[in-house]
Amino acid sequence: MRNALRSEWRKVTTTKLWWGLLLTTVAVAGVSAAGLISSYQSGGPPGVAPPDPFAQASTQRMLATLGSAGEIFALVYGVILMTTEFRHLTARPTFLIEPRRGRVIAAKLTVGAAVGVIYAIASAAVVAAVMTPWLGAKGDAIEWLRGGVLATLGRAAIAVTLYALLGVGIGAVVRNQIAAVIGSLAFLLIIENVFAVIPTVNRAYAFLPGPAAGALVGSTAPAIGGVQLTSLEGGLVCLGWGVLLAVCGWLVTMRRDIP
């Protein structure tokens, strides 16, 4: 297993994609946070200082949820990490050297999650780096611990990590790289929203990966279909999707031929 892990980690570090998508993930988080703060800069009657919502812990937590704003890119990385093996047929040397296919899948999931952790920590750090000096300049004290800002950043980081794991699972089930990337983006950006607007069906909405991750992080969203998950429930549902996809990916890999 150690050999499989070392090999998988080398696969990550010998390509440019992992830091390309890291930069994207981090940039989305940082720009979202900066955008949210600056959107409150202007406005208000002339001559009167606008009200400053960032003095409140609830607004600070909302800002911290943006640590997961780039989560979809962590998912895309996970999908590509797995599907590349089939697209470029590197699955052949991979499974020739380690024919115990379960080990390869386990190593892939572990390394995918590890990359997810890096994306997650970097995103949280960038949001913290944007908000700390900016809010400090306004004279707002950030309530890291008492106001739950740090905990929210942590939950955002967990969401990013889980998304990377989801991506590896999707890639093991749907080996076609383009189909897997387009399909998962379409699901998260379009199909989930279709669920939300159909009566009755929308009761399932909260249990889909995107809304579950939202509940985990605590992004304020209206309860759709009358179901509102708590942070812990959202996290468990999201993890459940990751486990389900990982098991499906494992089954597919064990049963299907390597091209």
């Binding site: 070392r6 090999s7 010998t14 390509t15 994609l17 590197t90 050297i97 024919p99 031929d257 091209p259």
Partner: protein
């Protein structure tokens, strides 16, 4: 590998893709210290057979074993079998050296093996260049290096000569011969071009449409339509003269005869005795390539109306 166990054995290997039978009840073996050519036209099922032997594809029926064990049961396969399956299994943006180091890590082999192999296959100078800039011949060399990661006793090379220039081809032949003779490895090398491997193989296994057609030495390859061509201005008299030979004689419009079932000397003697003027006498259809083509020819070639 167990002592005495045959390096590679295919036993009744069969593979269906939907309704198409890609490999049909194929049995053959590869012995230690020998080079076995695995020949057949494109689409004959060679790569599918190798994938089954290597545990990448599950056979519909039959078994493939390496040293008496199925591939999946090998505890350290990289040190037992090295395989190349077409020269395309690389990430384009990764360098050759990094590709080999990824494999070294997976096989539990020291990283310096990557550099040794790059030297061996002549890619040391371009080791740190992304593989996407490589020519097909360079990719073949890198594939071969990948197969040799664990210094295995058995090599399975799928079309390794594809894309190699004549020097590369000569180099590959020498390397295969050395690995079989001096190092005692068992080598199974596939090709759809007989002439690529003709000089290096000890035995050949010939397949077409998924079926075994021939398993043996090239020398014993069935002769096909070996014949003698005689060109003469006296066609009718020649036919009469040759009638006594018991051979099959066909006259063609350009004043020549095609004789099968008689040696050139017997044909020449019969003509001389009958006083038939002969302008040309030669044998045809006896080259290895022609015998190979005759053996593997598709009885239902694609054409109009199909």
């Amino acid at each position: 590998m167990g002592t005495g166990a045959t390096p590679v054995v295919a036993h009744g290997l069969t593979k269906d893709f939907g309704k198409v039978r890609a490999v049909d009840n194929l049995s053959f073996s590869v012995e230690q210290g020998s080079v076995t050519g695995f020949l057949g036209p494109n689409g004959a099922g060679k790569t599918t057979t190798l994938r089954m032997l290597l545990g990448l594809a599950a056979p519909t029926a039959g078994t493939g074993t390496i040293g008496g064990r199925r591939y999946a049961e090998l505890s350290d396969p990289a040190h037992v079998v090295g395989a190349v399956l077409e020269a395309t299994s690389f990430l384009p943006g990764r360098t050759a050296r990094n590709h080999l180091r990824v494999c070294c890590a997976a096989a539990g082999v020291a990283d310096r093996r990557a550099d040794e192999l790059l030297d061996l296959v002549g890619l040391a100078a371009v080791a740190r260049v992304p593989v996407q800039t490589y020519s097909l011949g360079m990719r073949q060399r890198l594939s071969l290096a990948t197969a040799l990661i664990g210094d295995p006793r058995v090599l399975m090379l799928d079309e390794p000569a594809n894309g190699l220039d004549p020097q590369g081809m000569a180099w590959l032949r020498q390397l295969m011969r050395r690995m079989a003779d001096a190092e005692g490895r068992a080598i199974l090398v596939s090709s759809h071009v007989l002439s690529e491997v003709e000089q290096v193989v000890d035995r050949v296994v010939i397949v077409a449409r998924g079926r075994l057609l021939y398993d043996g030495t090239l020398r014993d390859l069935p002769g096909g339509q070996e014949g003698v061509v005689v060109r003469t201005p006296a066609v009718e008299r020649a036919v009469t003269a040759l009638a006594g030979l018991g051979a099959h004689v066909v006259a063609s419009p350009d004043a020549s005869l095609m004789i099968t079932g008689a040696t050139p000397s017997a044909v020449g003697h019969a003509c001389w005795q009958a006083g038939v003027e002969v302008h040309e006498l030669r044998t045809v259809g006896s080259t290895l390539e022609q015998r190979f083509l005759a053996l593997t020819a598709d009885p239902f070639p694609p054409g109009p109306g199909r």
